[in-house]
């Protein structure tokens, strides 16, 4: 669950003295949207995002002469002048859940990961969705998630697991979720072609399958 296993390590960084055209080229070349800005020791000074850059460049509604002026200014602007400095950061011991809460709270696209103050990685929303996708098995070939009504009866988890194991139906995830709107549900990721048969077996066992 530590983000160090899911982040992009040894990320490309820029110095605060770099001029904007060069930083823009970097972002375009590597299709990143976030660059950590560091000093000569790799210590984080700020973050530069493609949004910061876009707003530094002239808007298309400006007249040609005005645009030219902005361009000339941009050519001489350093990263230090437009980067954001009040960065939220993650540490090597941060977990996926820490990152999820931060992304949810601050609506950021990526967070720098620091060891002491040195940048050791970048963790993006994309890294987070990939990690959770793997955790829950979304899109795993040969598997689907089915829902069973959790009536709270004693031993319901045992009944489900025993039934599946006896019938040799492979499954990889078992989640028990108290749902406010949807009711309490046990989710099961089964790996079989014979989904109708699994539904029938569960229903024979007296369980209620939440069909589509």
């Amino acid at each position: 669950m530590y983000i160090s296993r899911h982040m992009t390590g040894e990320p490309i960084t820029v110095s605060s003295a770099m001029l904007l055209p060069e930083a823009r080229a970097l972002l375009n070349d590597y299709q990143f949207r976030h660059l950590p800005v560091v000093d000569e020791n790799g210590i984080l000074l700020g973050m530069l995002t493609d949004r910061d850059l876009r707003s530094a460049y002239p808007s298309s509604v400006l007249s040609n002469s005005e645009r030219q002026l902005v361009y000339e200014k941009v050519e001489k602007t350093t990263v230090a002048e437009i980067m954001s400095t009040d960065c939220v950061t993650l540490g090597p011991n941060s977990t996926l859940d820490d990152a999820l809460f931060l992304f949810d709270r601050d609506q950021m696209g990526a967070l720098p990961v620091l060891d002491e103050e040195r940048v050791v990685g970048v963790f993006s929303i994309r890294d987070l969705t990939t990690a959770y996708k793997n955790l829950f098995g979304v899109g795993e070939k040969g598997s689907i998630l089915i829902g069973i009504v959790d009536d709270g009866s004693p031993g319901i988890m045992t009944r489900i697991v025993t039934l599946l194991e006896e019938q040799q139906i492979p499954f990889t995830r078992l989640l028990r979720i108290c749902g406010k709107s949807d009711g309490d549900t046990i989710y099961l990721r089964i790996n079989t072609f014979k989904i109708a048969k699994v539904y029938a077996l569960l229903e024979e066992e007296g369980l209620t399958v939440k069909r589509a």
Binding site: I144, L145, P170, K194, I195
Partner: protein, 318 residues
């Protein structure tokens, strides 16, 4: 002058034994199809040709040597399934799977030698879930992918359309073609959140050079005739006009039928007639009437035969 429709099939396909019990992919499927075709008023329009075995040279264009070896070894060792109990095997399964993949190659030769134009391979085991290196969902060799590779390499086809109307997504076909520009995979299937194999989301369009060569059209459970007809006319045909295929392979599966429990889709038997007619029109428009169809799924014996017969009627333009 070629026959109106050439059927490639073989009694030996019945020898792939999936162990009895409740396995749905059974020899009786092909027997049900044969009976329905024999009873069809259009039986006399059909010409039957036996398949040859797919040579290793062609199998390895779609699969790894490692998988071929593992498969062969498993049947020789008398194992009853590979990797997952869905993939039941018997001693003959490797040979029969080679014969199943061979039907497409036999059909392509007939088409290219102008001995046939419209070919339907009635085979088992099916193929569209089989991946490069592993079996999946009753499938061992990906019959459609092997056929497409053969058509590309032997006859220089550069724009092969594979249209898959099985109720499940053909994950193995997508992964074979998603990063190349020479194949276009279009699939209508039950939404992956509700159906095996959990792949085939609508936002996957291909990768790298293959961007734009995958078209997944998932339907929600309960989806039926009206939605399919609309997709065929309003979504798929314009894409084909743009893309201009030079060969057409159909992954013809019949498990989206409303009586077939393997998916939650609700197609009627008559829909398969309409699909046959539409595909025939595509072939007239793009490939001088040439079509290679290969049987995939379809497990409800009470409707499978009639569904295949309806599709055949459509392919014949009747």
């Amino acid at each position: 002058m070629s026959a109106p429709l050439t059927i490639i099939s073989d009694q030996r396909y019945l020898q792939h034994d999936t162990g009895g019990g409740e396995h749905p992919e059974i020899p009786a499927r092909l027997q049900a199809v044969s009976q329905a075709l024999e009873a069809s008023p259009y039986f006399s329009d059909l010409t039957f040709v036996p398949p040859h075995v797919a040579e290793r040279e062609w199998l390895v264009k779609a699969h790894t040597e490692d998988w071929l070896f593992r498969f062969e070894e498993a049947v020789l060792a008398g194992r009853t399934y590979i990797d997952h109990t869905d993939n039941q095997i018997c001693y003959d399964s490797y040979d029969i799977a080679c014969l199943s993949a061979g039907a497409g190659l036999t059909g392509i030769d007939l088409i290219e030698e102008e001995k046939a134009r419209n070919v339907f391979c009635l085979v088992r085991p099916p193929g569209h879930h089989a991946e490069h290196n592993i079996p999946f969902g009753f499938c061992f060799f990906n019959n459609c992918v092997v056929a497409a590779r053969y058509w590309q390499h032997c006859y220089g086809k550069k724009r092969i359309l594979i249209f898959d109307f099985d109720g499940h997504h053909g994950n193995g076909i997508q992964s074979a073609f998603e990063d190349e520009a020479a194949g276009y995979y279009i699939s209508i299937h039950e939404h992956p959140s509700f159906s095996y194999p959990g792949t085939g989301y609508g936002d996957e369009h291909g990768l790298g050079e293959g961007k734009g060569t995958i078209l997944n059209l998932p339907l929600s459970p309960g989806g039926g005739d009206d939605q399919v007809v609309k997709l065929l006319q309003e979504t798929i045909l314009p894409k084909l006009n743009e893309w201009q295929p030079d060969a057409i392979i159909i992954a013809a599966g019949f498990d989206a039928h409303r009586e077939d429990e393997m998916t939650g889709l609700h197609y009627s038997t008559e829909l398969y007639h309409t699909i046959g007619l539409v595909i025939r029109d595509w072939a007239e428009q793009f490939t001088e009437g040439r079509i290679l169809s290969i049987l995939e799924g379809g497990y409800e014996l009470s409707v499978l035969g009639d569904s295949v017969e309806a599709y055949v009627r459509g392919l014949l333009g009747k």
